[in-house]
Amino acid sequence: MKIPCRLLAAALVSLCLVAPARAHITPPVVLVSDRDAVVSLLAGARRFFVREVRLTAAEKQAIRQQTGWTPEDDFYRFYIGRDDQGRVVAATVFLTEFTIHGPVRVAVALGPDGKIKGATVVELTEETYPWVKPLLDRNFTREYVGRDARGTFAVSAGGGESMAQFYGQVVASLIQRAAALYETGVIKRGDAA
């Protein structure tokens, strides 16, 4: 039985190789649907619009200087809520950061003045969720309400090099990027009304 035993030994070694490969897969955790996030963040709106914006090279450069992040998508979509008179109540944009532990997706609501009205983490992964959950439980995104893209977006999650601190900063950065996008792609173009 020498040949099969060697083959089975090889199979066992291969099995050991499979395990770490599979371990890399971190299933996503969707905390809230896009519609629920829009409805929640645009509370008070009676009519809903989609505004899609393609940034110029100069606008991308301006955002990069402001936030250190260069927008790379073909276009960005804002969900805009208006009241019965057609006035903008708020706009919501979804942004994602791809980390080594999977994507972090955030919905951010901005007022017509460009100030943050609220933010919701909509998607994480099974791996990152436990790190972010303590922050979500204390509703940490509330701290950024009222700030615009020039505000400070620091996180206090126990400090140090903790994963909670790291992912809290990822979320905070996404909120700042959303504010910068709205300011550059909508307000400065005179389209916020």
Binding site: M1, I3, P4, C5, L7, L8, A10, A11, S14, L15, L17, V18, A21, R22, H24, I25, P27, P28, V30, V32, S33, D34, R35, D36, V38, V39, R47, F48, F49, V50, R51, E52, V53, R54, T56, F75, R77, Y79, I80, T96, F98, G102, P103, E123, G185, R189, D191
Partner: protein
């Protein structure tokens, strides 16, 4: 193969092969449930998760246009808690699944090489999990970058992998435990 058959393996090897096949089956079931809840099992659902996001406004018609706006109803915004697989996640998924599924297909094939079936049938069946894996992952890339309608390849690939696993498992288990031993 070379006089060696699953039916003539020692008990320890039979137990190993059986538990491996059962374990992979459990993993495949879990993967099926994960895929159905996170993405969906229809070509339309796969397309919604994988295809590039297209503008909802008139920007779709005029590529050079810098902005567009239109009124929508809330019904037009996705209410499903579904995952939208963007390119970086596609890269991550591809590298893990290509390694993982190919190794699994290889181990399934290794067991099946010792099954007592005609060589032509064995050749076809042993290829199914490999072809399924390539169709599955390749279909994801084609759906995103060539045509959303190619999402059907992802479903076909998954089905081929599952079919290959099922055939290999049924035949191998039959050989391992039910086929009467033949002395070489």
């Amino acid at each position: 193969m070379n006089g060696w058959h699953l039916s003539t393996l020692p008990l320890s090897a039979k137990v190993f092969c059986t538990l491996f096949l059962v374990g992979i089956g459990c993993g495949a079931l879990a993967a099926f449930v994960q895929a159905s809840t996170a993405v969906g099992l229809s070509p339309t659902a796969v397309e919604a998760s994988l295809a590039r996001e297209m503008p909802m406004t008139q920007m779709q018609m005029h590529h050079g246009q810098m902005s567009g706006e239109k009124e929508i109803t809330l019904g037009e915004i996705s209410s499903a808690a579904k995952v939208w697989i963007r390119t970086p996640l596609l890269i991550q998924t591809s590298h893990t699944h290509l390694f993982g599924q190919t190794l699994i297909a290889g181990l399934l094939g290794l067991i099946f090489l010792f099954a007592s079936v005609r060589e032509s049938i064995k050749t076809v069946i042993v290829a199914l999990p490999f072809v399924g894996t390539l169709l599955d992952i390749g279909g994801m890339w084609l759906t995103r970058f060539v045509s959303p309608s190619l999402s059907v390849l992802v479903i076909a690939g998954g089905t081929l992998f599952a079919l290959g696993y099922a055939l290999i498992t049924v035949i191998a288990l039959y050989d391992l435990w039910l086929r009467k031993e033949r002395l070489a």
